[in-house]
């Protein structure tokens, strides 16, 4: 039976985990490879690294992190952040990433999604969508695409954009609600459901998880096939296993392999 995925996400800057990971006794709480190994052992279904390194010179550090992770962890790994060219994708995949997530480069140039999917296959091209609810005078609210961590409005409708990138070859959508990100109030369920129901590819819900019921809601109400969370796992509030056990009790099919 096919299972729902629980995906921890690590923000990495200059080769270090931002704010660190404190859920288990790590020698170095800031080492992304150690954190990855711990999540692998804990039964995470996938792992996502988001590279928030600002300078171009330090981007090579991430490739080394990916390479060392792939040597130690035999689990699926997605890497995003600063992916702008087909060459960026090539070096990440060759370093051991299984999927690459594209964000603003797809907003500014949609054809990039097509070029990437044609070259490496739709299965490894994730398009990350950051969406925010926008009030429209005289009309109904809608969700629009924002870039640069939610600061830059684009005026692009999120549902139309999702359909467009999927038609161009995105094999998965990583959907983050910029309204909910960091709030611990749960996923934006109407947004998640609107996107998930309008594209044929898997949608991963992200942004706002504060408790384990939120993970259940993301799948049941949001129709996501996977749920991504960061802080509830990193700071030891809940283990991956506790999250999965909770989801099993709620009736969701989960992978509990030792």
């Amino acid at each position: 039976m096919f299972k729902v995925r629980v995906i921890p996400c690590l923000d990495v800057k200059d080769g270090r985990v931002v704010k660190g990971v404190n859920f288990v006794d790590l020698r170095d709480a800031g080492d992304p490879v150690e954190a990855a190994i711990a999540y692998d052992a804990a039964g995470a279904d996938e792992l996502t690294f988001l590279d928030i390194t600002a300078t171009h010179e330090n981007r090579g550090i991430m490739l080394d992190v990916v390479r060392r992770t792939a040597e130690a962890c035999f689990m699926p790994l997605t890497v995003g952040g600063g992916v702008r060219t087909v060459d960026d994708i090539k070096t990440l995949l060759r370093s051991g990433a299984d999927k690459v997530s594209i964000n603003s480069a797809a907003v500014s140039r949609r054809e990039f999604v097509k070029e990437a999917a044609e070259k490496y296959g739709e299965q490894c091209i994730v398009v990350a969508i950051d969406a925010k609810r926008v009030k429209r005078a005289g009309g109904s609210d809608r969700w629009e695409i924002f870039t640069h961590g939610g600061r830059n409005a684009t005026g692009i409708d999120a549902i139309e954009y999702a359909q467009e990138v999927v038609a161009l070859g995105a094999g998965e959508i990583l959907l983050t609600s910029m309204d909910r990100d960091g709030t611990r109030q749960g996923f934006d369920l109407p947004l998640t459901r609107a996107i998930a129901d309008s594209v044929p590819v898997p949608v991963i819900a992200s942004g706002g998880v504060g408790n384990l019921d939120h993970l259940v809601d993301g799948v049941r109400e949001g129709h996501a096939t996977g749920v991504l969370a960061a802080s509830i796992f990193h700071f030891g509030e809940f283990t991956i296993r506790q999250a999965k056990d909770h989801m099993v009790r709620a009736g969701l099919p989960m992978r509990l392999d030792p």
């Binding site: 096919f2 390479r67 689990m75 995949l93 060759r94 051991g96 999927k99 296959g121 094999g171 898997p202």
Partner: protein
């Protein structure tokens, strides 16, 4: 003993090599894992691994682009009867034809076409991306002691096409995704998995170890 992992530019080469190295280390008689694009090394190897991700036609072009590789591979597997392990598109290439976007010839080691999966339940997403259990169709040494079935372990899949085998005898295991999906094929000294053993944690490493122990 040497295991040749064919390097023809496939994205999962690094992960596959590392997983085979890890599995080999756990064995009594560790085998040397060699990543190579030298047809002669493939011809001389004791067993051969063909990784593969991306589109069928693109992977086929990749194999053809290495001068003499297909001949060496065919000779080693089909004539010298060396054990062979195809992963994902590496497995799909064992089929007669691929029908992803365009019709492309496969190696025709296993009769059948590689076709789009079409789950009966329309709420199921394509690609089939994530963890699924496996149902055994036929016993095989590479499946020995692996916990299969609905309560068994999971394998990691990422694909939109699968090998629709013409002969039931060539299918070792299936997954269910709104209908049957071919998960493992096996014929003579060749096996192939649609899922990624190199990404399937302990279950994947156990399968690779079984393959390395296999003396067909």
């Amino acid at each position: 003993m040497t295991v040749a992992i064919i390097d023809y530019g496939s994205g999962n080469l690094h992960s596959a090599a590392k997983a085979f190295e890890r599995a080999a280390r756990s064995m009594e008689d560790p085998q040397a894992i060699k990543v190579t694009r030298d047809p002669d090394a493939v011809y001389r190897a004791d067993c051969i691994v063909l990784p593969g991700v991306g589109a069928f036609a693109d992977c086929r072009r990749g194999v053809d682009a290495v001068d003499g590789m297909l001949e060496a591979l065919t000779e080693a597997v089909r004539v010298k009867a060396r054990p062979f392990f195809g992963i994902c598109v590496g497995m799909q290439l064992m089929a007669t034809r691929g029908k992803e976007h365009v019709i492309t010839e496969g190696f025709n080691w296993i009769g059948g076409d590689v076709e789009k999966i079409e789950p009966r339940d329309v709420s199921l997403k394509v690609p089939h991306m994530g963890w699924n259990t496996l149902d055994m169709v036929r016993e095989h040494p590479v499946l020995e002691r692996l916990p299969l079935g609905p309560k068994g372990r999971h394998a990691y899949f990422v694909h939109s096409y699968h090998l629709n085998a013409a002969n039931e005898a060539d299918v070792l295991a299936r997954a269910d995704y709104g209908g049957p999906v071919t998960a493992i094929v096996g014929k003579d000294t060749a096996i192939g998995t649609q899922f990624h053993p190199e990404k399937s944690q302990r279950f994947g490493l156990a399968l690779i170890a079984n393959f390395l122990k296999w003396k067909p």
